[in-house]
């Protein structure tokens, strides 16, 4: 069986090191937080100026001054800290953030990322912190469906959408498999409900299938 969105989030969460400083991108990556038990000691960074971000706020906890990068109200657990935007992005750009998890339109076989703009006429470009995150975090995990709705692969030889960052993705998590972006190519780490050989027939890139 291919993975559900919740199972995919749990799979990403499983691979986040204990005690890591992590930024979860807007949208689906946010779900990873639901699978990080407190004893893992993972510290969440939100680029609008907070480390040690808590879960989504409910009821009386909602405070318009306390939101995440998706502008969703969150909570302030013990140990949380606030800082301004230049410090927040220094944490990324300066290589202090261990992992970020981002969504994507496309990832290329060498790890180029396209996730901010479709480039379509009339589309309003909005990059937010995606370019800073892509080149800043020590490891960039992408979480996406492997194919578009019409069946076109999103793991591609070359991105056709405008790029967010060059050679920045380290790993791609999809409902059908987890892929490592390596110097020599894309390695299949595990598959879900499909064999690596079947996967190869549906993708336009050469997959490395055995551990060296």
């Amino acid at each position: 069986m291919s993975l559900s969105k919740a199972e995919l989030a749990a799979t990403v969460a499983r691979d986040i090191p204990h005690g890591a400083y992590v930024n979860l991108g807007i949208g689906q990556p946010t779900m990873v937080a639901d699978h990080l038990a407190p004893d893992r000691g993972v510290v969440l960074h939100t680029e609008n100026g907070m480390l040690g971000m808590g879960r989504a706020a409910v009821g009386d906890e909602i405070d318009p001054d306390l939101i995440n990068a998706g502008k969703v109200p969150v909570t302030q657990p013990p140990g949380a800290v606030y800082f301004h935007h230049a410090d927040s992005f220094a944490m990324m750009r300066g290589g202090h953030l261990d992992v970020c998890v981002l969504g994507a339109f496309q990832v290329s076989a060498r790890g180029d990322l396209a996730n901010w703009h479709t480039g379509e006429p009339g589309a309003i470009p909005a990059v937010g912190g995606a370019m800073d995150l892509a080149i800043g975090a020590k490891q960039v995990f992408v979480m996406m469906t492997l194919f578009t709705r019409d069946g076109t692969p999103k793991l591609v030889p070359e991105c056709t959408y405008p790029l967010t960052g060059l050679r920045c993705v380290s790993r791609v998590y999809t409902e059908l498999g987890v892929f490592e972006i390596e110097e020599g190519g894309v390695r299949v780490r595990e598959t879900f409900g499909i064999t690596p050989a079947e996967l190869q027939t549906r993708l336009d890139i050469e997959l490395l299938q055995d551990r060296p």
């Binding site: 680029e47 606030y82 301004h84 990059v127 937010g128 370019m131 060059l166």
Partner: protein
């Protein structure tokens, strides 16, 4: 030395047509809505506004856009679920847009406030947002030359000020405030409360009063 004003209208007086205005806030958190409303009433036009977003709903920055006072937005993330005012103006060709990666937006203002002439940053290399910019390889890594963003005016929101103009902020409403305060010729701050000098813990002050020109209390 910071001056203290009785109203938002008095605090924004003198802002001229064609000014570049740095506007604090991330979405509505930290957005200095009352100062923006006063700027709208003042009627200054042909403005360039530098802010992370391009307005939410119909209030604050969005209302300033509706009034037709903004010629150009410089921001990282104009498109949001509630950015219908900007979206319509943009699609109608009635407003210019410069998209800047969020970290570059912050760092370019930080550079302005710190007297840095320009800097090489790694963000955006190989992307459309680095096209036409000078690049350099330093220690094997590619960087893009980025210039400071200076404001004539900064409009920001803080939690408290003392009578020296020293500021503390509240939670994630801090966001761009401290950086913008350093990067403008005149920094105007709306605060929830003005407290007597000596009441703020000097170790906890985020923006020292040297960066603050005008303060108004908006409760």
């Amino acid at each position: 030395m910071a001056g203290f004003y009785d109203s938002a209208d008095a605090a924004v007086a003198g802002i001229t047509d064609g000014s570049t205005i740095l506007v604090g806030g991330f979405g509505s958190a930290g957005q200095p809505v009352e100062l923006i409303d006063a700027l709208r009433r003042l009627g200054a036009r042909d403005l360039t506004v530098v802010s992370n977003n391009a307005g939410n709903g119909d209030f604050g920055l969005a209302a300033l856009l509706t009034a037709g006072q903004v010629r150009k937005m410089v921001c990282s993330f104009p498109r949001q679920s509630d950015s219908w005012v900007f979206d319509e103006l943009y699609r109608a060709g009635k407003i210019e847009l410069e998209v800047v990666p969020q970290g570059n937006l912050a760092e370019r203002m930080r550079a302005a406030g710190a007297g840095i002439g320009a800097f090489f940053g790694p963000t955006g290399v190989g992307t459309p947002l680095a096209e036409g910019k000078e690049q350099r390889t330093i220690d094997g890594r590619q960087y893009v030359l980025e210039y400071p963003i200076r404001g004539d005016i900064a409009l920001i929101k803080a939690h408290r000020s003392d009578r020296m103009g020293n500021l503390v902020y509240r939670k994630t409403a801090r966001n761009f405030g401290p950086v913008m305060a350093t990067a403008a010729t005149t920094t105007v701050v709306q605060v929830g409360e003005i407290v007597p000098t000596g009441d703020l813990d000097p170790e906890a002050v985020v923006t020292p009063g040297i960066f603050v020109d005008r303060v108004v209390e908006i409760r």
